[in-house]
Amino acid sequence: MSDVKLITKKIRTDALIIGGGTAGCYAAIRLGEASVGKILLVEKAGIERSGCLAAGVNALNAYISKGHVPMDYVEYARADGEGIVREDLLLSMSERLNKVTEDLENRGLVILKDENGEYVTRGWRNVKINGENIKPLLAEGVYAQPDVTVLNHVNITDLVTQRVHGKTIVRGAVGFSVKEPVIYEIEAEAVLIATGGAAGLYRPNNPGFSRHKMWYSPFNTGAGFAMGFAAGAEMTTFENRFVALRCKDTIAPTGTIAQGVGAKQINAGGEIYEKEYGITTPQRIYGTVEENRKGKGPCYLKTEGISKEQEQDLFKAYLNMAPSQTLKWIESGKTPSRQSVEIEGTEPYVVGGHTASGFWVDTGRMTTIPGLFAAGDVAGGSPQKYVTGALAEGEIAAESMASYLDKKEKGDEPEVEFSQESAYAHHFEVKDNNITWRGVEEAMQKIMDEYAGGIHTDYRYNESRLVLAREKIKDLQGLVDDLAAEDMFDLLHIYEVRERLLVCRILIEHLLARKETRWHIFGENADYPQQSDEYKKYVNSRLENGEIRIIFRQLVKGESYEHPDK
């Protein structure tokens, strides 16, 4: 029991953006420029440093260099995604990659250029930058928009929908301040979800003191997936999980070393094994896992012998994006020129910016709920988005929202009813018991690790295990109502675990539904270790009468897609 007394504030806005990260900030800027009326951007932390971009990023991974066209990017992503992608989404994104890159430069991002003033690229899709301050630059752009109001440190938990003319449409959202006992009931004409992907579902590489030293932001909990799914929106391709290859312990990126100093992946015996397995992301991890399984590990990126100059550049590059790696090198004295860097795969994430999982959207990024849009890592069908793709999607969603708002006849809907207050208050009223949010989170991560293809089983799963995972996660969901909160920070954590549990449930059903191994590591189905032509289709899902229903959809080809029941 706690004596927290909640007060409720009501806000009315035209456009609501949930999540002020990469895609959300950019959409806010574009909507502000479009003069659509009042725009409210709600962010659970502070927009200057929230989300994936907090520490900074290493490069812009999605760019179309000279001699290439947007369709090349589509083909690259299609091949990497083994065909389970949406051509319309990839193409509309790819067409904007260069424009948003130039816009970032105009906002102050440092981009490396050659003597002719051309961007220096790494490969044909990658631009070299100093990405430490992308997020503050985007935040500055948001604050410069007079029509945009920013609500920092407010966590949204649920969408509010309404039946209007026989259709369920979105009418707003509800959440609470993580700092003070205030509930926000927000009425909106259109809503964009840009809450990023989901980390913290599986037991992480460092389960102890450094449990949040993970690749993806531990503060992106899959809130958007959960609130959208609960409201009836359709999701796609969750079974295409993402696992990253990382430097051991610090979980720092490996691409910088592999591409920067040309380091090869070697096993303990010094053999270069990457040739055997291939060099796409899943192949690099698959190779590492297999070498370890054969007893040939640990595996390394061979940096031993690089020059002191290269080493200094690595120190600096990592300070701009993953500072723990530089600290580790210097503190241990085992710098990369002296000792090769050990590598490992991370725990799996659900991230629509790297793989294809997320909301099922039309070409304009509207979800299956009219008025509800999705962009960035929360939106599915379009992998390999990265920073510039998230910006492009934020822009596309903003344009679609503006035209939706323009066409919408406002004011003929019944008054919006909010009913979340008692659910929040309940957690302050329950008696302290011996179940904590942390306990439930750990139990969830353990179950996912052991039964749903985590690090524990080399990412492999089978039906028997998944069925157990389903049962055990369901059981944990039953505990959430009785979790006690002392303050708003506790309430935040209770809602985070509630969201993650639902995301786990969706993920498990998707893993069960795809009876093949379409992607190594990301979807390593031990019952069906091969690809099957029968599964050249999307696995989608919806919540219907409280149950998760799987829907198979045929591959979408061509430049545009509209929801059939629109």
């Binding site: 200057e48 440093r49 907090a54 520490a55 003191f209 450094s210 503060f219 550049d313 503190e331 920070f489």
Partner: protein, 103 residues
């Protein structure tokens, strides 16, 4: 890895608090404090807002930490990252924010 606050240096300005993507920092008795050290992502955002270099970054023993701490001192476009080794030695790496990564 996590963040430790040097209470002697902290002047309680509160600027780091807004910057943390995980809402982990708060003011307690006029000084910054980290609520759950284990929940730090190690992004160093908070450090970039502290004019006093009061925020100290360290690796947990599980990541190989052996007592060193890292701080940032800002000088116009330069971040001076200082690594203070347990033996007393300090190593400095200066990064110009106007230079792109070479890799």
């Amino acid at each position: 890895m996590s963040i430790r606050i040097n209470k002697e240096k902290c002047v309680g300005c509160g600027r780091c608090i807004d910057a943390c993507p995980g809402n982990l920092l708060e003011l307690a008795e006029g000084k910054a404090d980290i609520r759950i050290p284990e929940d730090c992502w190690g992004c160093t955002s908070c450090m970039k807002y502290c004019s006093q270099s009061a925020l100290e970054y360290y690796l947990g023993a599980d990541l190989g930490g052996r007592g060193a701490v890292m701080t940032i001192e800002k000088e116009k476009d330069i971040y001076n990252w200082k690594i203070h080794m347990p033996g007393g030695e300090t190593k400095v790496i200066s990064v110009n924010r106007k230079n792109a990564n070479q890799y």
